[in-house]
């Protein structure tokens, strides 16, 4: 149908009526024709667009079959699937923080779903079959932060805790109610009866609406458990401190900081009137302290037979905190000075831990170990295994695993008696953290590391210890805990990551649980998920609170199932994927080798982008294309390859490397991401544009910068947030205004080499800068240390190591890495 270009228009000279009506009729027909042509044009255009859509997103037709729980408003072209040409995109990093992707569910389910801060999956669209998952070449797993500090938590006190009869899943927002009296489990599909009590809703005081009860309206709930959930009466909070007092330890000077911190926080230790505390110090012998109420002063009892450790007195070594408070204070005041003239250089850590185990066995609780050197005496003694010349090795990195199984065995024994062992390593030299870490790994403990610790020569480490101790001593704690993760029929879990003891296929034994612990688990699809459009995951953490209450914290996550490869890519949570890969890489480094782990990381990018490429019909080999959901994947993997845990060719102390690996395995996602890819901001030009208001304070929100020296202009000042450390880099040509107003120094040259605090100056830029930094600080439990780094000072290497997009002698730049990946794909 040709489109006529000319339109004859009727004349407007005087007409007689008949002619007029004919003209009007003629006009009417013309208009109709035009309307027809224009609408046809629109239809053509629409078809053209649909064509484009169908070319790129073949999954649209298949989506409709699995629309069960899916959002009906979902556009056929999700933003997450938009192809991005990585080699052309100069600025891949978004300027605002990356949020967790929201699973594609209908509005009701979205509102009820578990917060991603507690529970996250690497793929928010679950593949229907293992074959489909394999095609995507992406890891499938969950990242958990089950005990994180919550501001809102529904607590349920009820006679019956409603659970599925066969799989024991707790009732949750994603079950379905059949006729008000029965409910269908969303994990095993079993139909259960609704107990009579459950029909009554205590909140609304109504009857007959079980689906409105709080257990079914919240995906994160806490139940008060009945005595059926207890193997023994709830244990009291028991805290034991095992302290290295060798000459080395006294030199380092940590005792003063620890004792001071304990004195300040003695009343804030979580517990009730039954709380118990005890102290053991050791060098080449073990020292116990009798703190029995009624004594005039603490009594020190020395046991020198370290090959057959025994407790010198049956009780009074772990005493009631309130009854013996004065004696405890006396001891804490005396301890820092008791060993000042010691000549003992040996450290009998192993025997001290054996003594600790004996003390804690009857009750369970927490042991906090402070160690400053290699244990040199008695059971569990360790040799120096690090060869300093190998620190920059590009070949094999050795000794990433333990040298002895003494610490693992001890940890397992402790775990069996509900005792967790936390380690504070404050060493100036190699202390074989790879072996020592086992005491915490298998007993659900946690590890703190302060390399080159010295209370006078290294004040920033001393300050870090002080701040960490405050958090450590006062944060919430759960005792004698177990955690079980359940998932919908068809899915199964195979590998767990974190500090715990795996009791059976899905039961994790946690002697202690703390709010800063993260876990990960890998999943596989055993049976095809063809019968369902949704899958659910549930974490149940059973623990005793510090006040003797037995509680169960339950988180439930719901995700849609998809059957096309494109949909799998549309739902990738790239941050969760990189954290899971990091965990897997740590395991691979220890079981196989570091280079194998590095290869596996690169392959993860190569394989997944290659697999994605096959879903695009007009795939170009000249460009590296990724879906929008995965566009940061190569950047994050490069960051991981340059991270202390996995880097080669750059001098890395073995203990530093092992500690980074321990952190990867035990940090929750939000902190791990900062470790992997720190956040960089320019702070010399802060404005209130886009600022947010927090508690009457205005907090500027500067954009994120990519981690490249290209962005570091000499005329500026930048803040890098690495999670536990902040760096403020000052360019040589930075404006004097900024240096004066914020740093309080007249010019660049006068900025001290080791500045760790920003002065509180009454200037707008000082207020803005401090407001921003405080806001960043408050967003995490562990207070970070601040370092002000001057351009061209020796301290800058540490800072520059985090600029992962840049090339170094040992590693690719980001662009080179992209080319490398492209090459691998085309092979």
């Amino acid at each position: 149908h040709p489109i006529r270009n000319t339109v004859s228009s009727p004349g407007y000279s005087t007409l007689d009526p008949i002619e007029c009506s004919f003209c009007l009729l003629f006009l009417f027909v013309e208009i109709l024709e035009r309307v027809w042509e224009i609408s046809f044009l629109f239809v053509m255009l629409f078809c053209f667009c649909l064509d484009l859509l169908f070319q790129q997103y073949p999954g649209v037709s298949q989506l409709s079959s699995s629309l069960g729980g899916l959002s009906l408003q979902s556009s056929p072209q999700p933003e997450s699937l938009r192809p991005v040409n990585l080699t052309q995109e100069r600025n891949i990093l978004p300027t605002a923080p990356v949020w967790a992707p929201v699973p594609n569910l209908n509005l009701d389910l979205k509102k009820l779903n578990c917060s991603p801060d507690s529970f996250r999956c690497t793929l928010t669209n679950i593949p229907q079959t293992q074959a489909l998952l394999n095609k995507a070449k992406l890891p499938l797993g969950l990242l958990l932060h089950p005990f994180r500090d919550l501001t809102q938590l529904p607590v349920i006190t009820s006679n019956t805790i409603v659970r599925c009869r066969s799989c024991r899943t707790y009732i949750n927002p994603f079950v379905s109610f059949i006729d008000q009296r029965r409910w269908k489990c969303n994990l095993c599909y079993r139909v259960n009866d609704v107990p009579e009590e459950f029909m009554y809703n205590p909140l609304t005081r109504s009857y007959g609406e079980p689906h409105k009860r709080p257990e079914v309206q919240n995906s994160t709930v806490e139940f008060i458990a009945s005595s059926d959930y207890m193997l023994r009466p709830p244990q009291p909070a028991v805290y034991l401190f095992v302290l290295d007092v060798s000459h080395n330890a006294v030199e380092a000077g940590y005792l003063t900081i620890l004792c001071q911190s304990l004195l300040e926080n003695l009343d804030k230790l979580p517990g009730d009137s039954r709380t118990r505390i005890g102290f053991v110090t050791f060098d080449s012998t073990i020292h116990f302290y009798n703190l029995q109420e009624g004594l005039s002063q603490p009594q020190m009892l020395i046991v020198s037979d370290i090959d057959d450790v025994f407790l010198p007195t049956p009780d009074s070594l772990l005493v009631n905190l309130y009854e013996s408070k004065e004696l405890i204070r006396d001891l804490l005041n005396a301890l820092p000075n008791m060993f000042t003239n010691t000549r003992e250089t040996h450290s009998a850590l192993g025997p001290a831990l054996q003594a600790a185990f004996k003390l804690m066995s009857p009750t369970g609780g927490r042991v906090s170990v402070f160690q400053t050197q290699l244990p040199s005496l008695g059971a569990g003694l360790l040799q120096s295994r690090e060869d300093p010349n190998q620190r920059s090795s590009t070949k094999v990195v050795q000794h990433l695993g333990p040298a002895t199984d003494f610490y693992k065995k001890l940890a397992l024994d402790c775990s069996g008696q509900q005792t967790a062992v936390d380690l504070f390593l404050l060493s100036s030299q190699y202390s074989d953290l790879a072996s020592l870490a086992c005491m915490s790994k298998y007993s659900a403990g946690c590890i703190y590391y302060y390399p080159s610790f010295h209370c006078i020569h290294n004040p920033s480490q001393a300050e870090k210890l002080q701040k960490d101790l405050k958090r450590y001593l006062t944060r919430k704690i759960g005792f004698e805990a177990v955690m079980r993760i359940r998932c919908t029929k068809g899915l199964s879990m195979h590998t767990f990551h974190g500090n715990f003891f795996v009791r059976s296929t899905d039961l994790l034994s946690l002697a202690n649980i703390n709010p800063d612990a993260g876990f990960a688990v890998q999943l596989s699809i055993e049976e095809s998920l063809t019968d369902t459009s949704l899958v659910c995951f549930q974490t149940a953490l059973l623990y005793t609170s510090s006040k003797g209450e037995r509680r169960i914290r339950v988180h439930t996550l719901c995700l849609p199932v998809v059957s096309s490869l494109a949909d799998v890519y549309a739902g990738v949570d790239v941050q969760a994927a990189i954290c899971l890969l990091a965990n897997m890489a740590v395991d691979r480094s220890v079981s196989s080798s570091l280079s194998d782990a590095r290869d596996a990381l690169v392959n993860a990018v190569v394989d997944s982008l290659s697999a994605y490429g096959s879903t695009i019909s007009n795939f170009q080999h000249s460009a590296l294309i990724a879906p929008n959901s995965l566009k940061l994947f190569p950047l994050y993997v490069l960051a991981l390859l340059k991270q202390k845990a996995f880097r080669t060719g750059t001098s890395t102390r073995l203990d530093d490397r092992v500690y980074a690996m321990c952190q990867i395995k035990s940090q929750p996602l939000v902190h791990l991401m900062k470790m992997i890819h720190p956040n960089l901001y320019r702070i010399d030009r802060l404005t209130d544009e886009g600022a947010i208001h927090v508690n009457d304070r205005v907090v500027p929100q500067p954009p994120l910068q990519k981690l490249s020296a290209e962005k570091l202009t000499r005329e500026g000042a930048f803040l890098m947030d690495c999670g536990s450390v902040f760096y403020i880099w000052i360019g040589k040509g930075c404006e004097n205004n900024f240096i004066e107003d914020v740093l309080g120094c007249p010019n660049f040259a006068s900025i001290p080499q080791k500045m760790t605090h920003l002065p509180e100056l009454d200037t707008l830029s000082s207020e803005r800068t401090r407001s921003f930094i405080t806001w960043l600080r408050d967003s995490r439990p562990l207070s970070p240390v601040l370092h002000v780094v001057k351009d061209e000072s020796p301290a800058k290497t540490e800072f520059f190591q985090h600029l992962i997009e840049d090339r170094t002698e040992a590693a690719f730049s980001y662009y080179e890495f992209l080319l490398h990946i492209q090459q691998q794909i085309c092979k």
């Binding site: 009820s158 009466p233 039954r274 066995s361 209450e549």
Partner: protein, 194 residues
């Protein structure tokens, strides 16, 4: 040797406080006795004898019931009965004074777990050899322990009947308790914590 002390509400067997022997050896074997104790609490009711001794192999349970609360102790068979009952009486008077009024209102298990501190102290007094020698000075108002009913715990638990001093079933009281239970349940729900 006093190994296990448990205090529970008779009406529904809800545990109120407890203390376990803190010893590497004995701690681990107590599982079985604990579960027997729990089962026993569930079987007790208004008809149960207020004082009883239950043999359990090498160990013995002794209990007293006062004001709807059962005080139970597990000791070695050789431990003197008089001492055991004197110990329970001591626990009763202190517990009743401190917490007696709140007992009908609580719903959480081990709401008075902090009473453990007192239990431990009292236990020490009774285990101390001097106390044993002073048997004579023990509260003479204490009932003659000879008249305390002795039974075997296994039989009692297996029988499935409530321990009863009399064979008659008190139908009147039964009705009263069954009508009171909805009120009781409502109290549970109303203690929902937001």
């Amino acid at each position: 040797m006093v190994l296990l002390t448990m205090i529970a509400r008779v009406a529904d067997g809800l545990p109120l406080a407890a203390s376990m022997q803190e010893d590497e050896q004995s701690g681990r074997d107590l599982q079985q006795y604990q579960s027997q104790a729990k089962q026993l609490f569930r079987k007790l009711n208004e008809q149960s004898p207020t004082r009883c001794t239950l043999e359990a192999g090498a160990m013995t349970f002794h209990y007293i019931i006062e004001q709807g609360v059962c005080y139970l102790v597990l000791c070695e068979a050789a431990f003197p009965k008089k001492l055991a009952f004197a110990y329970l009486e001591d626990l009763h008077s202190e517990f009743d004074e401190q917490h007696g009024k709140k007992v009908p209102t609580v719903s959480r298990p081990y709401s008075f777990i902090e009473f453990d501190t007192f239990i431990q102290k009292t236990k020490k007094l009774y285990i101390d050899s001097r106390a044993r020698r002073n048997l004579g000075s023990i509260n003479t108002e204490l009932q003659d322990v000879q008249r305390i009913m002795v039974a075997n715990i296994e039989e009692v638990l297996q029988r499935g009947e409530a321990l009863s001093g009399s064979a008659e079933i008190d139908t009147l009281n039964q009705k009263k308790y069954s009508s009171e239970s909805p009120t009781f349940n409502k109290q549970h729900f109303l203690s929902y914590l937001g």
